[in-house]
């Protein structure tokens, strides 16, 4: 498919630039967090950034109208994949989240989030009244619940959480009456109480308890949070310097190149580093959310909003989690954390935003 020259002019180069800057910041800190172990993670991450860019270009080339139109098929495929995973997949670090082709591993749940964005865009685009009706709400909830539950069963609570945040975003955007909100709250409370008593595994309960009091279990769930907080707090205003953070270099901080990559920023570059990276991220998120106003139709608005929310939600939860304000749920920092599936999904989400924005003029 050829791309019109006018479309190329409409590409949001500023957003791409911000995404790339954030990705390279990630590569830099992955290097600092892992240069002393074999595996050259920063080079692999760099390769994934390349792969992400290619995915982004591919997503941008196809008009989002088609992606939305085909979303039920994508949905069916991803539900089948997730269900298949539960049946066939081997456990990798305690979860059935991965499809492995030789040394190449992929997490279908990351793609399920993107598919959900497209399906909901299609569903909600048809719905033009100011507030949601109960029947429509029930249908949408059911559609989100199937893959959502499959992800919870893997179990991958973090992805499930991001998944529900994205789905929930669509409801917020569609508008809810006070009664609907009340039903939602009651439902969440019921799920929360029921989930705590019957659904959550012990380790997940411990993680939640850890947020309240990390020192209760300093060798178990609390360990990561304590070490992360020590890393961040000891960084001070200017930090200990690149490749010089004792918590990171001496391996006190677990998952330092993945979930806890932002702690590396905190320890080695201090509050100034934290402020700079958050500011960069903020501008990227701002740019993403501003694209909502550039969408030409309702489906576009939903796509841009949900894709932006996906990135923003994971970012927020991650920076709260590593400092002990949110349970350790395994949510990565999009664009910065090491990990192919997550990076690819973030680039695809970004591609969707660009896609909608560059096709903001009708009948092109």
């Amino acid at each position: 498919m050829m791309i019109d020259r006018r479309l190329v002019q409409e590409v949001d180069w500023v957003l791409i630039g911000l995404v790339l800057i954030n990705s390279l910041v990630g590569v830099l800190f992955i290097y600092s967090a892992s240069h002393f172990v074999p595996g050259a993670y920063y080079l692999k991450q760099l390769a994934w950034v390349g792969a992400g860019l290619i995915a982004l270009i591919l997503v941008v080339m196809v008009d989002y109208k088609f992606l939305v139109a085909f979303s039920p098929y994508f949905y069916g495929l991803s539900v089948a994949l997730l269900a298949g995973l539960l049946v066939f997949a081997r456990l990798i670090s305690g979860t059935k989240s991965w499809i492995a082709f030789g040394s190449f591993r992929f997490q279908p749940s990351e793609m399920a989030k993107i598919v959900m964005i497209l399906l909901f865009a299609r569903l909600f685009a048809e719905y033009k009244s100011a507030y949601l009706t109960p029947r429509f709400t029930a249908l949408a909830l059911l559609l989100a619940a199937v893959p959502g539950l499959l992800i919870v069963l893997q179990p991958d609570l973090g992805t499930a959480l991001a998944f529900s945040a994205v789905a929930g975003g669509a409801f917020v955007l569609a508008g809810m009456k006070k009664r609907t909100i009340a039903v939602f709250l009651l439902l969440s409370l019921a799920i929360g109480v029921g989930g705590w008593n019957y659904g959550l595994k012990d380790y997940q309960k411990r993680r939640l308890a850890t947020v309240v009091s990390p020192h209760q279990d300093p060798r178990g769930s609390g360990y990561q949070v304590i070490q992360s907080k020590i890393a961040i707090g000891s960084g001070g205003l200017t930090g200990k310097g690149f490749k010089n953070g004792s918590q990171i270099q001496l391996r006190f901080l677990p998952a330092r190149h993945t979930d806890f990559i932002f702690s590396v920023v905190g320890e080695e570059f201090g509050f100034l580093g934290v402020f700079t990276v958050i500011a960069l991220y903020f501008f990227m998120l701002l740019r993403m959310f501003r694209s909502v106003t550039k969408a030409r139709d309702r489906a576009g608005v939903y796509i841009v909003f949900m894709a932006s929310l996906l990135i923003a939600f994971q970012f927020l939860v991650n920076i709260l989690m590593i400092i002990g304000l949110f349970p350790v749920t395994g949510i990565t920092l999009p664009f910065l954390s090491y990990g192919g599936s997550s990076l690819l999904a973030s680039y695809v989400a970004c591609g969707l935003i660009l896609n909608v924005r560059m096709r903001r003029f009708a009948n092109v």
Partner: protein, 595 residues
Amino acid sequence: MPEGKIYEDLSTVVGRANTVFRIIAVLIVLALFYYWNVQILEHKKYWDLAESNRTRVRALPAPRGLIRDRNGVILADNRAAFKVSYVRENVVDMEGSYAAVGRLLETGEEAIRGRIDAFKSLPAFEPIVVKDGLGPYDVAPIESRRLEFPELVVDSEPQRFYPHGPLAAHVLGYLQERTPEEASALREARTEVGHMGGRTGIERQYDDRLTGEDGYLIEIVDSLGRGHGERDRRNPVQGQDVVLTLDARLQERAEELLEGREGVIIALDPRSGEVLAMASFPTFDPNRFITRFTPAEWLQLVNDPLSPLENRAVRGLYAPGSIFKLLMALGGLDFGYVDERTTVFCGGSTVIYGSPFACWFQPGHGSMDLSDAIKNSCNIYFYQLGRRMGIDMIALAGERAGLGVRTGIDLTGEKDGLIPSSQWKAKTLKTPWFPGETISVSIGQGQLQMTPLQVAAFTALIAGRGARIRPHLLKADQDAGKGAKAPFKSAVYGPIIEGMWRSVNDMGTGRAAFVAGMDVCGKTGSTQVMSRERAEKLAKAGIEIKTHSWFSGFAPRDDPRIVVTVLVEYGGGGGATAAPLAGRLFSLFQELQGP
């Protein structure tokens, strides 16, 4: 581009999207405030936590001071060895760990468990030594499995080493692991629990001086406890050296002479009280005690009927036998019961208080003055003297001469002894003193008990014509006994020394100690180890009874420079066994002195 009807009105949804973004933005700003709080306001707290996270303090044990003889020969040295310690804090599975560590160190699970239990009062981060005395090849397999055993720490430490093995073992003493109480009692807490400390001998006596000041090393470690270089260190300060008065050559000869017997040889300088040699046999090799793990061997030595760990020189109590006649002579002359011309006739036996008493020489010595009596060790003379003095005057003389009480030598565990008196008997045995008992005491038998060192110091008193010395082993100890009041009139020594000289040089009982050109003066002694009645019975039955064999003397007669005291348990007659040993030590001393 026209904004017209082809676009639907999306303002409601766009407005809601913006609201959501504003909420997110507010949350991000709040998060930033929290980061400010943690990184700026609570920075100090987290900085300290990070520092204690990454550092580990290791004690660097200080080498003990060396122990040298008077000529600088090293008697106690240090060498490098490795020890393996167990840190409970790093253990994941305690029970599994005991078994695995027991296999790795080849000590068995129970040994590890026992060690850990013995030190369980210590905090969990304190290393507990579970194996020591290892060479570099022993620790290589342990080091190589470090990741599997995060609870094990391998350190080097200076280890005591006695280059001459058993030489002077009783004087030097041996080491044992310090208990927590001992370590804290040691001045300024310079040393750590689990380090070795002096248990007996000089190692114990001068432990404070020999113990150095431990250093420390602040090491940077990672989460698995692997070292990543050091950040701060204070080097250990070696303990002070201790120079002894011993002469290794005399000591070695003394031990050679005792080889195969049980007994004691002491040589000291009568002018200063410096102990030149102090050998006690049987002996042991203190190198066996330099590790913390010698329980089996330890028990064997402690329970050995020959008590090789006991320093007989200061802890063995013996009746002095005829050597006591020298004290009788001193007391008799000083108190005026006899003078040097007083003679007593020895017809081989005599009757005192209605009982017969025999001289050791049945034909009898004939008429004798004091110096003849000492030369021949005549019993009859001293029976008569004892009868005249009575037990309490004998006890007074003994007290003045320093017999029966500790000499005050700088060695722990020295024993007193006993010079009986009527008062003592009434108090201890609740019976009055029988005059007949005095007769046994007069020739050094009965309840008399003293250590060989007391005999040596007493001999030095005679050699110095009344100059009292305190035997000592530390070369720097210069105030030994100086200024003490002279116990007897200086005129009394002449006839006694005359008798001692004749004993060795004029065919007396001590003639076997003769050394040409040395003018040795001495006195022999043979101590019955059982009652006289029983001994006579056994003798009739044809069983040979061996007595303890004594010789104590000095040389040369004028300006004496050495006192030698020899005791051989069950050695037989003093003239036959002890005197020749003393003679050989005198002659080595003469050689060492040069022409």
